[in-house]
Assembly symmetry: C2
Homo-oligomer: 208 residues x 2
Amino acid sequence: MAPKTQEPQIVSVTDLPSAQAKWVGLKKIDFVDQTGTPRSWEIAVRKTTSKSGVDAVAMGNIFVHPLKPPSTMLVIQYRPPIGKYTIEWPAGLIDENETPEEAAVREMKEETGYEGKILNTGPVLSSDPGMTNATLKLVMIEVKLGEQEDMMPDQKLDEGELIERVMVPLSELYDRLIEYSKKDNFMVAGKLFYFAAGMHFAKHGGYI
Amino acid sequence: MAPKTQEPQIVSVTDLPSAQAKWVGLKKIDFVDQTGTPRSWEIAVRKTTSKSGVDAVAMGNIFVHPLKPPSTMLVIQYRPPIGKYTIEWPAGLIDENETPEEAAVREMKEETGYEGKILNTGPVLSSDPGMTNATLKLVMIEVKLGEQEDMMPDQKLDEGELIERVMVPLSELYDRLIEYSKKDNFMVAGKLFYFAAGMHFAKHGGYI
């Protein structure tokens, strides 16, 4: 991985004609609603949906160590769309002809360096149903560490990917995300925060 | 609300030139990464971001009733971007000059008919950080019901909005979302599922 020499910087943000875009596009959907009324809706689409019919996987990961509290690995990377560093779970697009599970194991290895065991694959979910047709699956992965396994293995990042890893005890996840979101240059990814909020609510809400 | 007379149907999906789109657009971001290398990134943007700097709010709601288990109200609506009915928490865009909290109370009332008390407003979150600059806040709202309060109040939907409401005990939320996602015409929204998965994991995972 090339060394970090400076803070990333946005040089320009320009309108992009649909026809010139390689990764994303705009579509207009004309439809007839439940009352028989013709309507239309504008959406953003990925131009890369895999044959599996799902765009992406995210890896809800749990690291189990004989002497340490169960933890999860978060990835921090500069995200040009928001001009900040985001806190997320490892995730990635599913390649052509790849299953969501294969993509989960591959992306987990690339972004974190670790191999894990899939505990559970969730249903196909809508990423942002008012705005896009993009979909994803949440794959829960467990990584078992040995007592001496304290050094993080090398990542296998694509050229140009710069991803930092941070291990957080699950019991502190919610509070740590709140802390990150108070820093100027950081933003927490919505779905990760919702998972942490669900855990927090189950523990402290007194409702269940 | 106009009566439902038929299943919604998509008539056509056509390419939409950026310049003709009213709600969404495409941008190209040119940036210099941490190693000093010039790169670019394509993103989808909303053309409607409010002055509060946040696009949307979602209402994580808890209904408390003296005789019934604590429950949450989900909204089901036809979403043209995915051509299915989605299961979501009530949510909406923040209007110009409105705070996220004001938008949360307004949208909660419009989509569910209920007024609630805000328990907590979360940090600004990235909706889908690889694809868009869209942001949201999760606002937790509690609605206290009286013993006799069994009829749902009228919604205050915008023209063309058709939203069904379903009340689910919080302890059954995860299983109910899994059930919905097995039906052909339904898809669960990612963020709601992550919250439910976090609750489920905290209760059954044995990790915390």
